[in-house]
Point group: C2
Chain length 209, copies 2
DNA sequence: TTTTCTATACTGATTTTTAGGTATTTTAAT
DNA sequence: ATTAAAATACCTAAAAATCAGTATAGAAAA
């Protein structure tokens, strides 16, 4: 059995080095490279074979979830294992949807990491214990999923979060304050919340801010 | 020169292991232990000598900043180096105020880490390059620093963030709605914001939520 | 081309928040 | 024992947000 050619993508050099040394003793694994940026991995993949990628969600250039998709476009045979701090159910699901074979939190144990790697390369989908729990019990807030906001709504959301009133926003965007009120109302409705306080809370929790 | 007895505190086992192996070759360093929880370190320190602690801000039990203080209370001779992802100027300053000898971001290079360790144990304060920049240009929002909230204020802040109105909060806490309004007013004033939207935004940005 | 979605704007009524104070009682610290 | 801080409560009035609707023009998708 040949060694699995593996790359690590994480914006923390310390984590990359850590993973490298941690996995150095694995028989069937060969860490060929570590990257801080997503683009670096993509250009590597264009010229080299890769069996496995350990991938972070938060990267300086591209989002890890989009990166999943692009890796799979370039090389369908490459397995992807997400190693992230994000505990949002929606993010986990999106990652899997985009081709990841597993999802681990960074605070998972070394054994879990080893186990998930071996499952991933076998072609199975594998989660760490904590992630499994997150997937299994969707919290009330997450039941209706992440609301898709229109461009205008996003724009107004950030202005609300900046403490601006409907009048101020209206002036800034050359709109009627009544229109801004409508968008505000729609935002509150889309997020399923009662008022701006909860709106901002939810939006920032969901990384929409 | 004797070896520096060093401990690592981080909620990510992978980071702990990574740092351990990364620093294994350092001549003057001896990693004696790694902990995921703050309390574990504190009880260790009560019985053992430690020269250096590499410390994360986000921990499952105690806040890293408070932990700084408590480490210094137990053992003034122990140097603390913060290794965190938080780029908030206020958090960095608080850490230093509470006795840390340096602050590194997790995405800093291995060389920076080595350099800061050597400076810290010499008794100097040392920051990674990026952190240095953050310290040097205080953003507008951060000029007045993190407001210290009272217990009641914190309590009411989370209820506001949950979308509750003053009346609802008053009922829940067996207070007059007018009292809740006063606390609300004080929160807005302490944070230097215009309304709850901005309040929740700031509070969540500052990890006070 | 018809339908759906987005962005726009309005009415009217009600609730909530915000801004400007003041003031008393607990609780904690010196 | 004194002082300072925190928690409590109130007043008045204006500003803003929320609820519950309706409606229309333009863009995008079916």
């Amino acid at each position: 059995m040949p060694e699995l050619l593996t790359a690590i993508v994480d914006d923390h050099p310390i984590v990359i080095e850590g993973l490298k040394t941690l996995l150095a003793n694995e028989e069937n694994l060969r860490i060929v490279s570590g990257f801080c940026k997503g683009e670096e991995l993509l250009s590597y993949i264009e010229n080299n074979k890769l069996d496995l990628v350990l991938l972070d969600i938060t990267l300086p250039d591209i989002n890890g979830i989009e990166l999943c998709q692009r890796i799979k476009q370039l090389s369908l045979s490459t397995s992807i294992l997400i190693l992230s701090n994000h505990t949002e159910r929606s993010i986990i699901m999106q990652a899997i949807q985009n081709g990841a074979s597993g999802y681990l939190l960074k605070n998972s144990s070394i054994d879990e990491l080893r186990h998930c790697i071996s499952e991933a390369v076998k072609g199975n989908i594998c989660y760490s214990k904590e992630v499994m729990e997150i997937i299994s019990r969707p919290s009330k807030n997450e039941l209706q999923g992440v609301p898709r906001l229109t461009r205008r709504e996003k724009e107004i959301l950030v202005l609300i979060a900046a403490g601006k009133t409907s009048q101020m926003i209206a002036q800034e965007l050359f709109l009627s304050p009544l229109t801004v009120d409508t968008h505000r109302k729609n935002l509150i409705q889309k997020f399923g919340v009662k008022n701006v306080a909860e709106l901002i809370m939810e939006a920032s929790r969901q990384q929409q801010l």
